[in-house]
Amino acid sequence: MPRTFLTRSAPDTAEVERRRWTFRHPAVIRITHWINAVCLLVLLMSGLQIFNAHPALYWGKVSTFDTPLMAMSSTEDDPPKGVMTVLGHTFETTGWLGSSAGADGEPADRGFPSWLTLPSDQDLTGGRSWHFFFAWAFVLNGAIYLLYGLVSGQLRFRVIPSRDQVRHFGASIWEHLTLRFPQGDEAKRYNVIQKLTYLVVLFVLLPVQVLAGLAMSPAMDAAFPFLLTLFDGRQSARTVHFVVAALLVLFVIVHVALVLLSGFWNNMRGMVTGWFVIERKVEPVAAVGEPRP
């Protein structure tokens, strides 16, 4: 069913019904989506815990302790101030980065605050246990998703822009920026920006994130030395891992915002039960491919 869709060049003008139930997300996609959501959240928070053990980033093979790309620290003041240095620029970040309240409420020297880390206390070994377990869960879950997506054709339908979408790329961007969400049959498929975003997240950001994580392992570097070549050294891999994590956070923020804006309950029902309601267009749109007035 999800593969049947009409193209923009043939807009559906016949108004048969105003609301139509469509089955949007097969069970495998729904389950892997939610497992993935949990994995990413745990990986992010336990990753920040691990980062806090040495809250500084470098480029290259080794740590150039005097010239980090980014570092968080606290000052000698009483109470201490939190300070972050990025590419030589220093910002005061008390309460957020460098110094924030610990479990006892007293200011503690820590990179990210306790409410963002897992476990919440400074606990590197705990963070590592969470991180590795959920990294395995993430990879296995992702493999199931990709395998299913490839075999069922879902992946292609979902993330590869169709020819008409590529042709109307400009219009699509305009619609997206003005938060005009597609209706009718057009709502059955992802628009070109959604597709390209998912494409980049699935096939660029997430694989790079896994590879950068592996490149930090001394044993994996022995087994696959190309990992170090790929990232220009272990410390750069650590920096890439951090930056890609930040990009994934950005993706999730936009993703959740759009879920909220484009019909929260409908979207949630879609991703929980699979069923999604498509609102029929009341008036057919005459001009296609041009920004609407």
């Binding site: 745990v42 053990a53 040495h54 302790f65 590197l124 070994t125 590592r128 377990f133």
Partner: protein, 294 residues
Amino acid sequence: MAAAAMLGGCDRLGNAEWFQRTLKTGEDANLFVQRLVLTDRTLAPEYAEADISPWFKPNGTEDPPDRSYKALAKRKFVNYRLEVGGLVEAPFKLSLAELRKLPARTQITRHDCVEGWSAIGKWTGVPLADLLSRAKLKPEARYVVFHCADTMDQGEDDGGADTAQDDGPDEAVPAGNANPAMTKQSGGGESRKSSGGQQASEDTAVGGGSPVRYYESIDLVDAFHPQTILAYDMNGKALPVSNGAPLRLRVERNLGYKQAKYVMRIEVVESFAGIGEGKGGYWEDQGYAWYAGI
């Protein structure tokens, strides 16, 4: 707030014994898969002279407080004897001069601390495989344990453990100071949960009454790896005390906490369950994974 409640829930979950064991399966999987992709002779990357870090960050113990160690160091370790024993046919002792006369290996490798930083150093030392072959392992031998000179926990009252742990170079590296326990031997930061950690040192005080010294263990795969050496030189000079003089283990393909400094005695065992708290190393006893390939 929901998020705070959730985080509290995760913390409680993370403290539950069954859940910790579940999480640890991730680390078991790391060992399993990494041993699949590595052969016994796959080498860790080696680097060029130009890559050597100008400063090889010492971590953890930088100057063992132990009197016996200080006496050895004062006389430039002329009285030092490395003991090799345990499950071997021919235990022996070697002085530093004798070790230096044995065939040596030099390697420029990267040291990765569990905290996240890296440094590159040049190491010269005796391949562990040569020493173990000389000692002739008994058939039941499975692990090699390294007993070190430096006391980690005095086993006094509850302040003792922290005193021993917190003597790291907080001021030396601005980036590191959010992790005040720049602890012993490249081990991780403030890993011990405040109660658990204190508990451990009290147990030691009550149970053994003797101070807890650093120790580490590796299996025979790592022990016979060509890059596993007992290094006496760093960057072409005698190993400084801060980096583990007179002898430190280099077991490349592993994180820093495996690279035991101040090695005094090598013990071949069938199981490390009876040593320390039974987890195979000082940091392992604090919860770190025994396998440190990632």
